[in-house]
Each structure stands twice: as C-alpha cells, then as structure tokens.
C-alpha cells in the first residue's frame, strides 16, 4: 500500500516533500505539466520509486509540454485521428515504453484514452489505441518491470454494474498486466466526494480488482481515498493543486494559468477536510477545538504567523497537507482492514462532532468546508464493513 504524489504544476514542491521531508512513497509525473527535458533531469533517487503517466487521455491535446514527448499521439501521428493513429500506434508504444524503461521508473504504465460518455466500444477502442500495441511491443522488448494499465473511467461507468463488469472482464483478460492505475472523473459541485452510490460502487470495484490479484493505484483522488483503504492494499495519491486531486480533461484543454487563483485552504486532518484559511484562523482562536482538528506543522505555523494570507501559488499549505495526509495514511496502513474501518469510523464521528462544536461557536464554515460528506462516508464504510469485513 503506497502513497504517491500526483504531480501537477510546481512538481518541485512534491519532489521536495518526497525527497527532503520524506512524505509519500514516490511520485506520478505529469507530462502535461513538465517538459521531457526537465523530467529527464530528475535524480534516479526520485525517478526509481516513481511512475510516469503518459497521459494519452486526450490524444489530440495541443498542450505544448505534452508535445515535447515524441510518442504522444498528436505528435507521433502528426495530428491525431482515430484512423491515422492506427498506423503509428506500435511506434508510439515502442517509444513510450523505451522512455519509461530508460528512465528506470518503478513500473511501466500503459496509457489509455479517456471517454467522457459511456462509450459502448470502450474496451475495443482501448485495445486498438494502446493496449494491444503496448503489450505487443513490451513482449518484444522483454521488459522486466510490472506493466500497469491505465483505467480512465467516469463515475457513471463505475456505478453501472454491467459496464463495470465488462471493464473488469477486459482488464483481467491480460495476464501480462499486473496492475491498474484507476482514474475516475466524477463531475460534482462539491470539493469532497459525497455520493454514497459512487463510493459504494468504487469500493466494490477496488475490492474486485484486488481479488483478481491486480495491484491497484487510484490516481487523482482527494481525502475520500482514505476510505478506499478498506478494500485492502490499495495505492493512493495526494496532490497540491485541486486538479491533482480530482480528474478532468480540462487540464489538457485550457490554459490554467489564466484562471483566477482560488482562496487559500488548509487541510485539517481532524475534520477530514480542507477549510478556507481565513475561517481556520477563527477556529484556531478556539483552542480546545483547534487541538482536535489541527496537526501542527512548520508549514502551517509559518502561514499563521505571516502578516499576509497565504496565496495559492505558495507551497506552505500544500506541504502541510502532504505531511498531515501522509501521517494519516501511515496510521491506517499499519492496521488490518477491520481495524482501518474502526479507526476511520472514529475519525469520521469525531470530525462530525468537531463540526458541531465549530457551528456552536458560532462559526459557519462555507459549504465546501462544512463537512457534508461525513455522514455519507460513515454510511458507506458501515455498509462495506457489514458486507465485506464483518465475519
């Protein structure tokens, strides 16, 4: 069970957190955010425990950094189309595999395309696009590292039992593939995932993938990934900016640098949530509550002592998150699945209680910080315990 940094903008913060501070077990590099020449400069100490996500999600993406990789479909095919890519699919696969092998990453990732709709030919299209060419080339190259298949899904695909079964049958039909890198796009208007039906289905799918003896890495996940640990040895991710904690094709389309900077938020492990920094200052004034929800880090203390409110492009609050989340994962991973359930249940109930105390102050946390996800989480883990863990 590992915790990877999902890299995005400012990968150096992730590298510092991993290499200097010792948080996380490795990184997942993001070519849409980092040019090839830059990526190749990372030390082997950073590369070897890490993974490279080739990000073929949007094959005709025009993002300049992606174009620095000659195997990216838009580049390899001199303008991607489903027709002409077939002619270069194997060559693209060979170059991508060669790159990952040369860089000596921990595992080799087979990319996949992201479909935002319930594509009926999902598996056939993934086979033609990358899976068959990559497996063919990997066999020729006799690669010794584990092959991991990217599985980009939508929440609708996960929640639809027939669709999910079809995907599971497909993924498990390749004995050469030893693991999956699951990415789920879940469109929502809340920062935390609060849909019980989605979380139920996700836990079921992760359990089934594990029972098929595949390694499972869930990418682009937020705090809800703590719940996924109930399904056993699941690898999860954490990231700095929000777009590394929820998946969307937007980052392959729009120029995010033009976006307005979000209001600074701080992760409070006792609330299992991020709250606005300005409201955290108010909560901090209530010492009894603060001691329960906050974990002291140098980074957060610096932010609170600063005369100006932290800005979204400063690393402090993200590094605070890395430390807090990493510690929570460390506690959970030392436990059995049943013990994880018991502890998560305690954490969630405590978070609910702290939220009530905060409301009593009164401090009305804005909607994303208010903890509306906690009751659905509690219901989900209780159901999972009853159906999968309780003897």
């Amino acid at each position: 069970m590992k915790l990877y940094h999902q890299c995005g903008h400012c990968t150096k913060w992730n590298i510092e957190s991993f290499a200097d501070d010792g948080f996380g077990d490795g990184l997942i590099f993001s070519p849409v955010h980092e040019r090839r020449s830059n990526l190749e400069k990372h030390s082997s100490k950073v590369r070897r425990p890490s993974i490279f996500d080739p990000q073929y999600y949007l094959p005709n993406s025009q993002k300049a950094k992606l174009h620095s990789y000659d195997f990216f479909p838009e580049v390899a095919a001199s303008g991607f189309s489903t027709v002409n890519f077939g002619l270069v699919a194997r060559e693209s696969a060979r170059m991508c595999l060669e790159f990952q092998a040369t860089q000596d990453y921990e595992k080799i990732v087979i990319p996949a395309r992201h479909f935002e709709q319930m594509e009926p030919k999902y598996t056939a299209m993934q086979d033609a696009y990358t899976v068959v060419p990559f497996l063919h080339e990997a066999a020729k190259m006799k690669l010794s590292k584990d092959l991991v298949l990217t599985l980009p899904l939508t929440s609708h695909m996960v929640e639809n039992e027939d669709y999910r079964t079809n995907i599971l049958n497909w993924v498990t039909s390749y004995p050469e593939i030893s693991g999956v890198y699951v990415i789920v796009e879940y469109e929502r208007n809340t920062k935390q995932v609060a849909s019980e039906s989605f979380l139920d289905a996700m836990l079921l799918m992760l359990t089934e993938l594990r029972q098929a003896d595949l390694t499972v890495l869930v990418g682009y996940s937020n705090t809800e990934s703590l719940l996924y640990l109930l399904a056993g040895a699941i690898d999860i991710t954490f990231g700095a900016y929000e777009n590394t904690r929820m998946f969307s094709l937007d980052k392959f389309l729009v120029n995010e640098e033009d976006r307005r900077g979000p209001k600074a938020r701080i992760y409070l492990p006792g609330l299992l949530n991020w709250i606005q920094f300005s409201q955290a200052v108010d909560v901090r004034a209530k010492k009894a509550i603060w001691q329960g929800v906050y974990r002291e880090t140098t980074w957060a203390e610096e932010a609170f002592e600063s005369v100006t409110e932290p800005y979204f492009n400063q690393p402090g609050l993200y590094k605070h998150h890395f430390e807090c989340f990493s510690n929570q994962v460390d506690v959970l991973r030392a436990l059995s699945q049943i013990e994880r359930y018991k502890l998560l249940r305690t954490w969630i109930k405590k978070a609910q209680s702290f939220n009530a105390e905060i409301e009593d102050v009164p401090i009305d946390l804005e909607r994303h910080g208010a903890g509306d996800h906690l009751q659905p989480w509690l219901d989900v883990i209780n159901r999972y315990y009853a159906s999968h863990l309780k003897s």
């Binding site: 086979d127 049958n169 497909w170 004995p175």
Partner: protein
C-alpha cells in the same frame, strides 16, 4: 453429415495406398475418425511418402467442408505443426481431395488429416480413477500444464472444447494429451464463426457462460478454465454440475449461465481448499476466475 461406409473406405484406400483401417472410434458427425496403419513398405512414388514409418495413426476425414471449416482445420494443423510438445499429437499429413484416385470428381471435397495415434485412453473412460480430490487436483494441474503452451502461444489460443473426450491419458505414464483443436480461437480475433449464432462453438455440457452467450470478446483462456472446472467437479463428485435435470439445450445453457452448483466440500466432503479452487474456476464472470495461469497452477498445487 458424413458417415463411415464401404464407399468412403474405398475412396480413402484409393487415395492413400496401403491404408489398413482397424477400427472406427467415430463413425459419423462433422468428422469420421479411423484408427489405422499403413503397409510398412508402400508403393514407391505414391503419397504420403513416409507413411510406412508412421506406425499406428488416426485418420480424420471431413466432407463437403466450406471455407470456414477449412480455415478451422488449417488452423489446427498450423498449431499442431508448430508445437513440439508431448501433450499434443504429432501431425503427419493433411490434404484436401476433390477427385478420387481415378480422377473422377467427388460429390463433396474431402479433407483428410493423419496424426500420430497415441496409446492412451480418453479421460471419459477413466473418470472413476480420479474421484479422490487429491488425484483429481493433480490431474487438473497436469491438464493446465498441458494447455499452457496453447494459452501462452503468441496468438493467445483458446481450445474452446475442453471435455473428458478430448483429454487423453497415456497408458505408459499417465501423462495428458490434448486433442481436437478444431475450434481453437485466437483471443481478441474477430473469429471465423458466425456472430449471430445464439451460442459459440463448444460442446454444450462443458461450455463456459461466455461461450453459451457467444460473447466472443470475453472468450479467453479463462473459458477453458471454466470447462476444466466442470471436468474437475465431475471427477470429484461423480456428478456433472449442470446436466442433471436439464432437459433441453436451452435449460442446460441457462444453468451454466446462472446456477451455482453446490460446493464440492458440501457435496462429497472433499478438501475445502480444493473445493474453493474448483469453485473459482467455475465462476460465471471471467474476472472472478484465476487471472493468470501461474495463479491457477499455484492453487492446484497440493
């Protein structure tokens, strides 16, 4: 449907000089199968040239075959020729005949293959010998090992007709020989069978749910594992898991697709672990079965 007849034997004897038919294990159906041999000193200049050295052979003849069937047969030949394994019979000869020895056109083309005759008995004749759970487990493991070269072939082949009749046990050492590769399928290929058929090529009592549904995209080595699970269940319990009570083909397929047979440890008190392995082999959804051959082999190791 082709049948054994004096006329057919006469045609074959003319086309294959020196042919001596000793018995007919399969007298009718898609193929007629003969056990035979050739005169040790055949007339020079006649084909097959090396037939005098073959000893006992199995001659299979099909009639009126269409291009689809020919493609299947040619695939079987190609695979058998490529294998150098003791688990598959050696193929000596194959040809398509449209005329008899005198040059008269035949009413239907004949496709003839001649392969090594192995001193072995079909498992169907030896089921009682393996009814102890551990013996059945050892045999199932040996069958998996024999099938492994097929599954790990670059074309990822699937036998699709695993059943006791197609599993031979050598009399000399009890090793397994796999026969009848006539409906092999390459994983992921479009296939040469007709997609509108309600079920895919198989022997229905040993078909997997995906074969029963003609769900080609899900036919992988795991389909053979399901069939082999049925064989193992039958060996240990002495009962077929789906046949009893099924009066029609449709009822049989419905059972294969939906009925979970009672676990072996409850049926006949077999070892719980072995019961669990067989249960996993017979899971309805392929993803619930063993994902790799090595996992299956490991589970079958006692």
């Amino acid at each position: 449907m082709l049948s054994d007849s004096p006329h057919l034997r006469q045609i074959l004897s003319g086309l294959l000089p020196g042919l001596n038919i000793s018995s007919t294990p399969k007298a009718s159906g898609q193929r007629v199968v003969y056990f035979c041999s050739f005169d040790p000193h055949p007339v020079k200049g006649t084909k097959p040239t090396k037939r005098g050295e073959w000893g006992k052979v199995v001659l299979k003849v099909s009639e009126g075959i269409d291009p689809t069937q020919i493609a299947y047969l040619q695939k079987e030949i190609e695979i058998l020729n490529g294998f150098k394994s003791q688990h598959y019979p050696r193929l000596h000869w194959n040809d398509i005949y449209s005329e008899d020895v005198n040059g008269n056109p035949l009413p239907h083309r004949l496709f003839v293959t001649i392969e090594e005759r192995i001193a072995a008995k079909p498992l169907s004749a030896l089921m009682g010998k393996y009814h102890k759970d551990k013996d059945a487990c050892v045999l199932t493991r040996a069958i998996v090992e024999a099938l492994e070269p097929l599954w790990s072939h670059p074309q990822k082949l699937v036998h699709r007709d695993i059943k006791p009749d197609n599993l031979l046990i050598r009399e000399s050492d009890g090793s397994v020989v796999i026969i009848d590769l006539g409906i092999l399928r390459e994983e992921g290929s479009i296939g040469i069978t007709l997609s509108h058929q309600p079920f895919g090529p198989c022997s229905p009592p040993y078909a997997s749910p995906e074969q029963a549904n003609n769900d080609k995209k899900n036919i992988t080595f795991k389909s053979d594992c399901f069939s082999l699970g049925i064989v193992a269940y039958e060996l240990i319990s002495g009962t077929h898991p789906f046949l009893p009570g099924a009066k029609t083909l449709s009822e049989l397929f419905s059972r294969i697709k939906t009925k979970n047979p009672p676990p072996l440890h409850k049926v006949c008190g077999c070892d719980k672990r072995i019961s669990g392995v067989v249960e996993k082999m017979m899971q309805k959804e392929p993803y619930r079965r063993h994902r790799t051959v090595s996992q299956l082999l490991s589970d079958l190791t006692i």
